[in-house]
Amino acid sequence: MIPVSFDYVRATSVADAVAALVAGGEDAKVLAGGQSLMPVLRLRMAAPTVVIDCSRVTEMQGITDAGDSVVIGAGTTHHEVMNNPLINEHTPLLAMATATVADPAIRHRGTLGGALAHADPAGDLPAVALALDAVMTVVGPQGSRDIPAAELFTDYFTTSMAEDEILVSIRVPKLGPGWGYHYEKFQRTAQGWAIVGVAAAVQRNNGTINQARVGLTNMGPGPVRASSVEQALTNAAATAESVAAAAQSATDGTRATSDLHAAADYREHLARVMTERAVAKAAGI
């Protein structure tokens, strides 16, 4: 279908975009890569009066090494994330998960910031941001503020960003040496969304797992941190048995739902099995 009529603003700076967002009121929509917004517009599930295109805002581009973290512009495409040397060296989990998103053409347009702001419960990148304790820098009419991933995702397709705020960059802390990573995704079809996904980072020292980070995709209204699994893995033996035992608590704190793709109890089963696989692979077991 053809989208409803709207006005178009091509923002040239973050300040410009925020001003347009304030002027546009609640029916204004930010456009980044458009890979979630365009289908929504075509299906007429949204009817904005003005669309504010941020894809040419240079302040929202670029990937920089900030010492203890990597700072990624919200407008960085999935394709750029996957292929960026800094990200692959310091935060490879993000590159791995991004490589599973959609298909090459969508990854050429879709952005990291758009995927986080969209907060789709089946999106792969919110769970990664949560597991890695990423911090979002957002700018609104009152200025700039930081939102930790743990406070960003509040409900289905809903974040704690205000309607007149724009996500400008994402800071991903470097975990340092000794960490292994894996993103495990269960999908029914090529190019499909995750029925369940598990993002795992594990720091191993010879026969021991020092610590682990585990984030779950599509196990509730937003991404879920599998804290019980992380606790069970702290200073655990780096063996298949201890990983399997820890993975049993993967569903603690989750609120899986049933839909066309899977029933809630099946999702819970997947979360346990895939947590075991993701942690084992990240730990090199």
Partner: protein, 161 residues
Amino acid sequence: MSHIPISVTVDGTTYDSEVEPRTLLVHWLREDIGRVGTVVGCDTSSCGACTVLLDGQSVKSCSVLAVQADGQSITTIQGLAEGEDNWHPVQTAFKECHGLQCGYCTPGMVLATVDLLGENPTPTEAEIREGLEGNLCRCTGYHNIVKSVQYASDLMSGGAR
């Protein structure tokens, strides 16, 4: 809603046009400048039938606004051949290997393949299937499409495979 001026180079020719902001790139290509080789197969950005190259990268032209392409350069299926008798090797390969039946997915498949082989000139079968995962075909079962891509890779790399 007011029209917005755009200037876009398509298959080597620059077009100055005025579009409604809501105009999808694929509709502009088809209805305003006659590039009807680029087709629409879905409303959900899933099928890839509308794939074109935007500044050299494959994109789904149903999922880009025409205004967003302002100042950029597009290659459609109609701009790939150098002339009637001088097809792009990917086009030749799809013909030789029967990589199509009804042909509806073919413009998108061919352009996605051009992009894939640009990034990875000698892909494995698995890499071909993954690289084309955004393009759906209802006819071929994909087998001959994979063969076509392999043959195109041979043609383009001078038989290096």
